[in-house]
């Protein structure tokens, strides 16, 4: 029964990482940009919760969405747009710089000491189901994440902007000669990615209520690893990869006896190395169908 408990916990954590991974995957797809600074969007959202902690909860949450999306758009406009078409290495280094800069700014403003947020702490309450103690946050995390994944999928396949985003992700140059506006597609991608990041941030803040400058880095890094093991250039595998790494992270943490927890990261990243050695194109990558002759 305890394993069922672990399974539920791991599924919840995995689904949150899936949201973060999907955001990273979207931006990579359209921009060919590995956004190392994606976690800093979550961090900014966390501090937004802290700053607005006196506000009514709903407004505070809405404000977090606004802060994250606006920050994502500012980064796009000031840092990524001028580099569009630059080499992937250049863009990657730019995202490193942004990540360090944002964390340094956060540290200057709010110090390295953590700031507690409690907007959604009510979700820490548990209900019992048979012999299981299930915290509300796990249920909410699973429901919210799967809804958002389905909604994103519907947006990408059913709307015209979504279709244009998929076309741009597949072949930006050809999308442009068909009349697709590059800026619109890129802005749409960053907005969507920011919304997903905020949703994940809100639910992570229940389990990790102490916001530090490195708060987002830890989450972003794990999600980024998930995206790479899943397969960087397809959204489905990238999202699954995020889920997988989050799931494994939580599962291992529960499984390891508490005095062995310090080996969690070594075990996890050992697994990552193994996966990359065996399947360098990604764990969930099908063999690519012959196309683009």
């Amino acid at each position: 029964m305890i394993y069922l408990q672990y399974l539920i916990d791991a599924t919840a954590i995995g689904s949150l990482y899936a949201l973060v991974a999907l955001g990273i995957g979207l931006i990579f797809g359209v921009m060919r940009l590995v956004n190392f600074a994606h976690g800093e969007l979550l961090m900014a959202g966390g501090y937004s919760l802290f700053v607005t902690s006196e506000w009514p909860t709903v407004l505070s949450i809405l404000m977090a969405f606004v802060v994250v999306v606006v920050l994502a758009l500012i980064l796009e406009r000031l840092a990524f747009r001028p580099l569009r078409g630059a080499s992937p290495a250049t863009m990657l280094v730019m995202t490193f710089a942004i990540s360090f800069l944002l964390r340094a700014v956060a540290q200057k403003k709010w110090s390295a000491q953590g700031k507690a947020v409690n907007q959604l702490s009510g979700l820490n309450k548990a209900f019992t189901l048979g012999s299981l103690d299930i915290r509300w946050v796990t249920v909410v995390a699973i429901v919210v994440s799967s809804s958002l994944l389905i909604a994103t999928q519907a947006f990408l396949t059913r709307t015209n902007l979504g279709l244009q985003m998929r076309a741009a992700a597949s072949d930006f140059g050809t999308a442009q000669i068909l009349g697709v506006r590059a800026d619109r597609v890129v802005v749409g991608t960053f907005v969507l990615s920011g919304i997903l990041a905020t949703a994940a941030m809100l639910l992570f803040s229940v389990q990790r209520p102490v916001i530090t400058p490195d708060w987002g880095l830890q989450i972003g890094l794990v999600a980024l690893v998930g995206v790479v093991i899943g397969g960087l250039d397809r959204l489905g595998p990238a999202t699954l990869g995020g889920f997988f790494v989050g799931f494994a992270n939580s599962w291992l943490a529960n499984l390891l006896p508490s005095d062995k927890r310090i080996f969690l990261d070594s075990a996890l990243y050992g697994l990552v190395i193994l996966v990359l050695l065996i399947r360098p194109a990604g764990l969930f990558q099908r063999h690519v169908i012959a196309e683009r002759v």
């Binding site: 015209n160 442009q176 068909l178 697709v180």
Partner: protein
């Protein structure tokens, strides 16, 4: 005299210091089919890329319906009413045939008549109608070429540019492509077609320009007789020893 749909004047395109197009000028009038012929590397595709705004840098003037389109980004050029069928087709392999065609409609000024244009494109290329829900990457090369032309057609272009549409196709598919182009011309659409294979395209086009080394060497009309030798001379002149030029 009617105004030209497209007017290219003294166009120069350079990649680094190497000129690919050297002072090309030509006009295309409404309802005309104009061919740019020439051997590989002659500068034909670069000319189309320059018109489409895909090159960062070029010299000369390009006017479309009387307005300069130099410096416009490709998506703006597309929305002005120029559709390019790119060399190598460049269909979206992981999207369905239907989605590819929807993307073709992005640049339309108005959705009025979109359904009719789609129906017409499917009438020209019936095989697409059978595969609407299929991933485009699973189509054969010939089917992909038909999709690329249909995708350009549903944009309701004032001017259609085709870059090597018969490259790598089986003869039966080439017949389908030229048959469709003939129908498109029949509706008064204006077409510029770039081809390496001279004979069939020259017979099809109203006017042809034969390009070598980035320059127009020969202009011929559809009803000119005995052009084959003159065309061959340009091709061989370009391929053979001449002018201390680098083979590319």
């Amino acid at each position: 005299m009617t105004t030209a749909v497209l007017s290219v004047r003294d166009l120069w395109v350079r990649y680094g210091n190497v000129p690919a197009v050297r002072g090309v000028s030509f006009d295309v009038f409404p309802g005309e089919v104009v061919a740019l012929l020439g051997p590989n590397g002659a500068g034909k595709s670069s000319t189309l890329s320059a018109i489409m705004g895909r090159l960062g840098r070029q010299e000369g003037t390009i006017e479309f319906q009387g307005d300069s389109i130099v410096g416009l980004s490709p998506d703006k050029v597309a929305r002005r009413g120029i559709s390019l069928v790119p060399e190598g087709r460049h269909i979206f392999g992981d999207l369905t045939v239907d989605e590819n065609l929807q993307l073709g409609m992005v640049s339309r000024g108005s959705q009025v008549g979109a359904d009719e244009d789609l129906a017409w494109a499917l009438e020209l290329f019936p095989v697409l109608d059978d595969f609407m829900g299929r991933q485009a990457g699973l189509l054969s090369g010939g089917q992909q070429q038909q999709l690329a032309i249909a995708r350009a057609l549903v944009a309701q272009p004032q001017l259609m540019l085709l870059d090597e549409p018969s490259l790598g196709l089986a003869p039966s598919v080439i017949d389908i492509v030229f048959g469709a182009l003939d129908s498109i011309r029949g509706r008064g659409r204006t077409i510029v077609i770039v081809e390496q294979r001279a004979a069939r395209t020259a017979a099809f086009a109203d006017r042809s320009f034969v390009i070598a080394n980035g320059e127009i060497r020969l202009a011929i009309n559809q009803n000119d007789e005995d052009t084959a030798e003159a065309i061959a001379a340009v091709y061989f002149g370009a391929e053979g020893a001449g002018e201390g030029r680098v083979d590319r």
